[in-house]
């Protein structure tokens, strides 16, 4: 069970949240310029690391706002929580 520190509501139980998958995926500026392979890369291909992973979460049973979260996929330790639009903090900072 994860205890997630919502940037707006503070620490809450995992059941109040939904995980929205990999963070920092930018929609291509001009989708029409992409070929099928590039579009498939954007649409379907995902990082799936064993270790630190940046993902989006939404506090569905709270403030209903999205935020980014960096989490270790082996230990489940939450490394960082940071607002949408920001880059993940440097390791060790």
């Amino acid at each position: 069970m994860l205890l997630i520190d919502c940037p707006w509501c503070g620490p809450r139980d995992e059941v109040e949240f939904r995980c929205g998958g990999q963070a920092h995926l930018a929609r291509p500026a001009d989708p029409m310029a992409l070929d099928d392979r590039q579009w498939a890369d954007y649409l379907f291909m995902r990082d799936n690391p064993k270790g630190p992973f940046a993902e989006r979460w939404v506090h569905v049973a709270g403030c209903r706002r999205w935020f980014n979260l960096q989490r270790d996929t082996v230990t489940h330790r939450i490394i960082a929580v940071y607002p949408m639009g920001e880059q993940p903090p440097e390791p060790g900072s």
């Binding site: 099928d36 649409l43 291909m45």
Partner: protein
């Protein structure tokens, strides 16, 4: 060194007479050779089946199966052992029905009792959408020659009298699909049976050997780096379930796969009360009773990526609530143990059994929550793909290229959610 004895009533009697002290080992534990024609990464059911069919169907016996832990210690030994083939789409129906046909003769073929029990599978419907989808799926199955039926609530009660079919349920049972040829099998025995049969055909099964790198020259593979040194290979088949992305990355491939925990649990053993498999996609639980008497209970994945082989408690809580709603008589049962496996989930809930852009590298992955039932068919078509360097007609639609072409095989929900 070929120590294997054939199992029969005579060998059983002979060994019983000597106190069962002289049964030989089921398979060898050889040192890895310097190179093989084919290296299969992953010693679960799918990997071992692949090796077996490579040797038996294609005459390629110079094969190694590399397993980082012990045989069947991953998802093969962690699933809820359900076997069925009542999938909606033609592509899936062909793949899972091929598997089911192989299951039906597997114990005899392997000379190993995999305890395949065709006790039938119910997929319950709890709302109008479920009923329509279930009826449609049953009809689609029949067009594909699969024994699928639609039962009303009375028919469900006849098949499974202890199920609560009262109309007063929060989500009443409005009907169910019914596949009599579905059932369960003993999952460890599947790994052991394939391992023993593959070993007999010359396959080297190497446990405690983790692959740490995939060596390439130009656009093609030349072998694998392992914790027991470099092993050369003309062809490599990745059959590693939850770790598929990790292995693919070693060859510079990115997959449309996310790894999630899938949990299951068993109750204390009780007298036989449940002689079929009951699955509910809508309130989400599935249950059968093992030969030891334990109820085997599963449901859905945890919502986040993980490689930890454990999940969160509220997932178990949700499936137990559904179980008790459907079977009030189970309410006071104690649960003995729970565990998790790491499943590799594809965006369309269908597997990838495919060649890759890397020469000599093949992948069998993305089975998500439903791979066990497909073990024999998966190995059969993947062996064909590796041996011939082209897919078997049954797995051709399950290529990696479908994510570029858009020809997805969307089995979310259509296959009754829970696999």
């Amino acid at each position: 060194m070929r120590l294997m004895t054939r199992f029969s009533v005579f060998s059983l009697a002979r060994n019983a007479a000597t106190g069962h002290r002289h049964w030989p080992r089921q398979w060898r534990s050889p040192e890895p050779r310097r190179s093989y024609d084919v290296v299969i990464v992953g010693g679960g059911g799918h990997g071992l089946a692949t090796a077996y069919y490579l040797a038996r169907e294609h005459g390629i016996g110079n094969v190694a199966v590399l397993e980082k832990g012990w045989l069947g210690g991953g998802n093969t030994g962690r699933n809820t052992t359900i076997v069925r083939s009542n999938y909606l789409w033609d592509e899936s129906a062909a793949l899972y029905e091929l598997s089911l046909k192989l299951w039906e003769s597997l114990s005899r073929e392997l000379n190993y009792n995999v305890m395949f029990s065709q006790r039938g599978v119910l997929n319950l419907a709890h709302n109008l959408g479920d009923v329509r989808a279930g009826r449609r799926r049953a009809e689609a199955n029949r067009l594909n020659g699969i024994d699928s039926h639609w039962l009303g609530p009375d028919g469900v009660a006849k098949v499974c009298p202890i199920l609560n079919t009262s109309a007063s349920l929060r989500y009443p049972v409005l009907g169910s699909t019914w596949q009599p040829r579905g059932g369960v099998a003993r999952h460890d025995a599947v790994a052991w049976g394939y391992a023993r049969a593959a070993d007999k055909l010359g396959v080297d099964i190497i446990q405690n050997c983790e692959v740490t790198g995939i060596r390439r020259d130009g656009g093609a593979v030349t072998g694998v780096e392992t914790t027991r040194g470099f092993i050369g290979a003309k062809k490599i088949g990745l059959v590693a379930a939850g770790h598929s992305s990790v292995l693919a990355e070693m060859a510079g491939l990115r997959l449309p796969i996310q790894s999630h925990p899938l949990q299951a649990l068993v109750s204390e053993p009780i007298k036989p009360v449940l002689d079929t498999v009951v699955m509910s996609g809508a309130i989400h639980v599935y249950v059968s009773q093992s030969d030891k008497g334990e109820l085997v209970i599963g449901a859905g994945i945890d919502g986040y990526n993980s490689y930890a082989q454990r999940g969160s408690f509220h997932i178990i809580e949700g499936q137990m609530a559904a179980l008790v709603e459907l079977f009030p008589i189970f309410a006071r049962l104690r649960m003995l143990r729970s565990w998790g496996g790491i499943v590799d989930v594809c965006p369309d809930a269908s597997p990838i059994i495919s060649k890759t852009p890397v020469g000599g590298l093949y992948i069998n992955a993305g089975w998500g929550t439903g791979g066990f039932k497909a073990t024999p068919g998966s190995g059969f078509v993947f062996a064909h793909t590796v041996a011939r360097d082209e897919p078997h007609p049954v797995n051709a639609p399950f290529s990696l290229a479908r994510f570029t072409s858009g020809a997805l095989i969307d089995e979310h929900g259509a296959a009754a959610v829970a696999h």
